[in-house]
Subunit: 154 residues, 2 copies
Amino acid sequence: MNDDTPWLSPREQRSWRAFVRLNQKLTARLGSELQSQSKLSGPDFAILVALTDEPSGRLRFQELAKNIDFEQSRLSHQIARMIKRGLVAREECAEDGRGAFVTITEQGVEAIEVAAPLHVAAVRRLLLDAISPEDLDALGDIAARVLRHLETTP
Amino acid sequence: MNDDTPWLSPREQRSWRAFVRLNQKLTARLGSELQSQSKLSGPDFAILVALTDEPSGRLRFQELAKNIDFEQSRLSHQIARMIKRGLVAREECAEDGRGAFVTITEQGVEAIEVAAPLHVAAVRRLLLDAISPEDLDALGDIAARVLRHLETTP
DNA sequence: ACCTGGTCATTGACACATCATGTACCGTCC
DNA sequence: GGACGGTACATGATGTGTCAATGACCAGGT
């Protein structure tokens, strides 16, 4: 490796690597627990939560995509798979012939009602139980700051 | 949603959501910059870095998998794809008939030498520039603590 | 020599993400 | 009212991740 490259200092590297590793392991653990306990994937979960947050239990594709920060195409594929499994359904849109709603099905409601408490418990057990409330706040502050930074950086 | 489920407090939820969102966005940004600047994916990068860290430029599958925390099968698939693109090569193992080495090719070396400084610069620009050194240390400490916690938690 | 259990790696099937492209419909401007 | 640019969503190709099953080999006991 070239020595004049702006490499990270050992101190920076330590934090950066720990952060990356944590992301990987935590998402992996949460994902696999979700999967084995409730037969839902992370994307499944995100979509069902977004739909149950809606009193009507349905959302336009656009809106849903924005709420959970999915690209349109990704959402389209994901919904197609979830329809096959009966978790959600499509519904044509009367006002706009192009558009469509995604609605949560009975089966979807049942699935998310099983999954949600288990998932919350896992988040608590795997992350929250490991750190103090102050640390959690600090983590949230830092994350929020970086997120703002990301929005204004090329 | 059932009201007696152990939901997160608003305060907890704020930090948790920010953390999740940061992970998603940051990995997405880093991945796509890497891809467009150097034609390497995240997994490609991780593997090439691990191989160049080795003086011999080669590693057994097991060892490589452990170093970068990949499952065996994942690594096998990934290596197969990278061989097709000429970034690495496989080499039979004389001592152990089952095993094999992964070695980095000339082309792999070139690729990583282009990608590494760009990637480091991106990490700096997207994350390090957004927070103070103290915050970075704090982040690293928290991450390290959670990682230890994860190892001893079912 | 031959099981036998464990280790090393591959493979196939499927879920997921992303990119580029396609199709149908909207609104508007002429 | 017909062409046109833009919006909403779908689709296919390719790369990636995970699980379960498999093959190939090692080492140790009998």
